[in-house]
C-alpha cells in the first residue's frame, strides 16, 4: 500500500431523493407485512399446500445468506491468511454480513407460521434436520458477527463519550469500560474470526442439503447429492464480487473514487473460484446426464441457462480479462452478474426447481411477497447507509497518518 487509509464515518447528508424512494418502498413492504400478521400468511402470499416455500425463503433467506458470504471470505483473506492490504474491505463486508444475517433472521421469522416460537430450535433439537443445523449455525454466526463489529463501536466512542444531561457524570466510567472491552476483545478476537469462517462453511453448505430431501419433487437440473458442495462453492465465489458490488455502489453514492487497486485484485481472485464452481456444476450435469432436460423449452430450462450463462460463464470470462479488471464500469458489471447469478441459483433451487407431483397451477410471487422482499432490501440499504455514517466502516485516505504511524484495523 503506497497510501494510508483509515476507516472513517462518512459525513454526508442522509436524506437524498434516492433515499426517500427507498423509504417509501420500505413503508409499502411494511404495510403488506402488517397484513400478514393480522390475516395469516395466505392473505398476503401466493403460497399454498402445493407450494409451501416462496421468494421469502428463496430470496430473503437463501439469497441473503449467500450474498452475505463476503463477510467470511474477506475475513479469511484479511485475517486468517493475514493479507493486511485487504483490511480496507473487511469492515464494509463485515457490516454487510451483519445486516444481511439480521435480515435473514427477520425473513425466517415472518415466513414461519408461529413467529413467536422462533426460539424453539434452541430448546427442541433435531440433529437429523438440515434446517436445524442451518438455524443453529446462523444464530451463532450472527452473534459472532455482532461481536466482530464491537471493536468498531468502541473505536467510535472511546474518547468521544458524551452522555446527555445528568448522565454525563459517568462519561469517564463508560470510557474506561469501553477501553477495557476493547482490550479484552483484541485479545480474543481471533477466536471469533476463525469461528465465523467455520460456521459459514457449515451453514452455507447445509443450506444446500435442505432441498436434497425433496427428492423427485425437485427438478433434476438442480437435484443432486452434491448440492451442499455446490452451495458452498457458489457462496465462496460470490463473496468478493459482492464486496466489489457494494464498495462501488457506496463510492458512487458518497461521491468518492472507487478503490480500484484493491477491487481489481479481488476480481482477479474471483476468476479461479468461479471456474471451480462452474467445473463442478458442469461435471455434475454430465455425470447425471441432466443436459437432456435442456432440450425442452420450459421455465426450468430457461432459468437454468440464464443462471449458468449470464451468472457464471459471462462474469468468469470478464474477470479473466485484464481490461475488465482495470475498468470500473466493466468490473462493476462482472461483479453484478456474479451476484445476480448466485441469487438466481438460490431462487432456482428453492422456488423454480420445486415441481411437486400434485399441483393446481404453478407458483408466482404475489404483489405482497414482492413488496415485503423489496421493502426488506430497502431497509437493509438504509441501515447500511446509516451505519457507515455513524461508525468508522469505510476507509478514506487519511493525511494525518504519516508512514511511521501504526496502522491497525480491528474487526
Amino acid at each position: 500500500m503506497n497510501h494510508f487509509t483509515k476507516p472513517t464515518p462518512i459525513q454526508k447528508k442522509f436524506l437524498t431523493p434516492g433515499v426517500i424512494v427507498l423509504i417509501l418502498l420500505a413503508l409499502n413492504g411494511l404495510a403488506f407485512l402488517a397484513a400478514r400478521f393480522f390475516f395469516g400468511i395466505g392473505a398476503v402470499t401466493n403460497l399454498n399446500n402445493q407450494y409451501p416455500w416462496g421468494i421469502w425463503i428463496g430470496i430473503d433467506v437463501a439469497g441473503g445468506v449467500a450474498l452475505a458470504a463476503g463477510g467470511f471470505t474477506t475475513a479469511a483473506l484479511g485475517h486468517v491468511i493475514n493479507r493486511k492490504e485487504y483490511h480496507a474491505v473487511v469492515r464494509p463486508a463485515l457490516l454487510t454480513a451483519m445486516l444481511g444475517y439480521t435480515f435473514v433472521a427477520i425473513g425466517v421469522t415472518i415466513d414461519i407460521g408461529r413467529w413467536y416460537y422462533i426460539w424453539h430450535p434452541i430448546v427442541f433439537w433435531n440433529g437429523t434436520s438440515a434446517l436445524f443445523e442451518v438455524g443453529i449455525c446462523v444464530t451463532i454466526y450472527a452473534t459472532v458477527l455482532y461481536i466482530e463489529f464491537l471493536p468498531i463501536v468502541t473505536e467510535r466512542f472511546i474518547g468521544h463519550v458524551a452522555l446527555p444531561g445528568p448522565l454525563s457524570r459517568v462519561d469517564g466510567l463508560v470510557d474506561q469500560a469501553l477501553r477495557g472491552l476493547e482490550r479484552g476483545l483484541s485479545r480474543v478476537m481471533f477466536v471469533f474470526i476463525i469461528a465465523g469462517v467455520v460456521l459459514s462453511t457449515l451453514h452455507q453448505s447445509s443450506l444446500g442439503t435442505l432441498m436434497v430431501i425433496a427428492g423427485p419433487k425437485m427438478h433434476p437440473l438442480w437435484q443432486t447429492p452434491i448440492l451442499p458442495f455446490l452451495f458452498l462453492l457458489s457462496a465462496i465465489s460470490v463473496g468478493f464480487p459482492m464486496v466489489i458490488f457494494e464498495s462501488m455502489l457506496a463510492s458512487r453514492s458518497f461521491g468518492m473514487k472507487p478503490e480500484m487497486e484493491l477491487l481489481s485484485k479481488l476480481g482477479a481472485m474471483t476468476a479461479p473460484l468461479l471456474g471451480i464452481y462452474l467445473a463442478f456444476k458442469m461435471g455434475d450435469m454430465f455425470i447425471r446426464e441432466t443436459f437432456v432436460y435442456l432440450t425442452v423449452l420450459n421455465t426450468q430450462s430457461v432459468m437454468f441457462m440464464l443462471e449458468i450463462l449470464l451468472g457464471v460463464v459471462v462474469p468468469l470470462r470478464m474477470f479473466l480479462s485484464r481490461g475488465v479488471l482495470k475498468s470500473p464500469p466493466l468490473l462493476f458489471t462482472a461483479a453484478s452478474l456474479t451476484v445476480l447469478g448466485v441469487l438466481l441459483n438460490r431462487i432456482n433451487n428453492f422456488v423454480v426447481a420445486y415441481t411437486p407431483p400434485y399441483s393446481f397451477g404453478s407458483y408466482f410471487p404475489s404483489l405482497g411477497e414482492v413488496s415485503v422482499t423489496v421493502g426488506f432490501i430497502c431497509i437493509l440499504v438504509l441501515a447500511y447507509r446509516a451505519a457507515v455514517m455513524i461508525f468508522p466502516v469505510i476507509s478514506l485516505p487519511d493525511r494525518t497518518l504519516s508512514p511511521r504511524a501504526r496502522y491497525t484495523v480491528r474487526g
Partner: protein, 299 residues
Amino acid sequence: MATVDRREFLKNSLVIGAGLICLPTEVQAGPKNILSPDRMGVLVDTTVCIGCRNCEWACKTAHDLPTGPLESYQDRSVFEKMRRPDDHALTVVNRYDNPKDPDAPYTVKVQCMHCDHPACVSVCIVGAFSKQEDGAVVWDTDKCIGCRYCMVACPFQVPAFEYRTALKPDIVKCDFCSARRKDGKLPACVEICPVEALTYGPREELVRVARDRTKRYPQRYVNHLFGEYEVGGTGWLYLAGVDFSALQFPKVGDNPAPGISESIQHGIFAYFVPPVALYALLGALMRISKDWPENGGEE
C-alpha cells in the same frame, strides 16, 4: 490481533477446542421414534372401494372439522376434479378411469401414508413429528414453529398448513386416529367403510393378507403392493387393479426419503470432528501466515 503471542494463542485455542469437544457429541433427537415390529397399518383395496366417501365424513366428525351431513357426501360431482387432503379434510377420495370396465371406475382414498422412515420426522427443525409405537406418525402442536419444511420434504405431499390463520396456524394431516385407537376404537374411516375396502391390522399381517389376495385373484390385481417397499415401507398399503401410476401415485423409489440427506448431514457433523478439524487448520494457518514474506513477515 497483533498483540496475541504464540503461547497465548495456543492456550486459548486449547480452551476453545476443549469447549467444542465437550458439546454434546451426539445431538439427542427430540421425540422418541419407535419402529415397533407390532406397528399397525391399514390395507386399502382400491378394487373394492365404491367411492361412497363415508370415510371423509367420519374423519371430519372424528377430528371436529366442520362438515355437512353424511347424505351430502353422495354428491359424485366432486370427482370431476382431483382433490388433495388439506387443512379442512385429512382424507379425500379421487376417481380414476378403469380401462377394463368403463362403468366401474376406480376410487382411491388419499391420506398420510404413515411411513416407516418418515421424511417429516427427519426434517422437522424442532422434532415436532414422531413415529409412534402403534404405527402413527403424529405432530406435536406444542413444538411446531410453522416452517413448513415437512411439506417440502414429504414424498406424498400430504401435510397441509392453515394459511388463513394469523395467530396459531397448525400443520394438518391424518393422525391415524391415534387418540381413538388408544381407547380401543378403530380408526374412524375403517370403522365406517361399508364394503371393507379398508383393513386395519398389524402391518406384517396386512402384507401377508395382500399377498394372499393377489395370488388368489391374479386377474383382479396388479402384482404390486404399494407401500410394502416404497420409501422404505409405509404403514398404509394399497392394492390396485391397474398400474399405480394410472391412479396418480407418485414415483418415489424404495429408499427411505431421509436417506441421502441424513448421510450428508452425518458426514459433515461426524461427532463434530470435521468442524473442529477445520477450526484447528484455520488457527494454524492464521499463526503461520503471519510470517509469510508476502505478508511482511514479522510486524
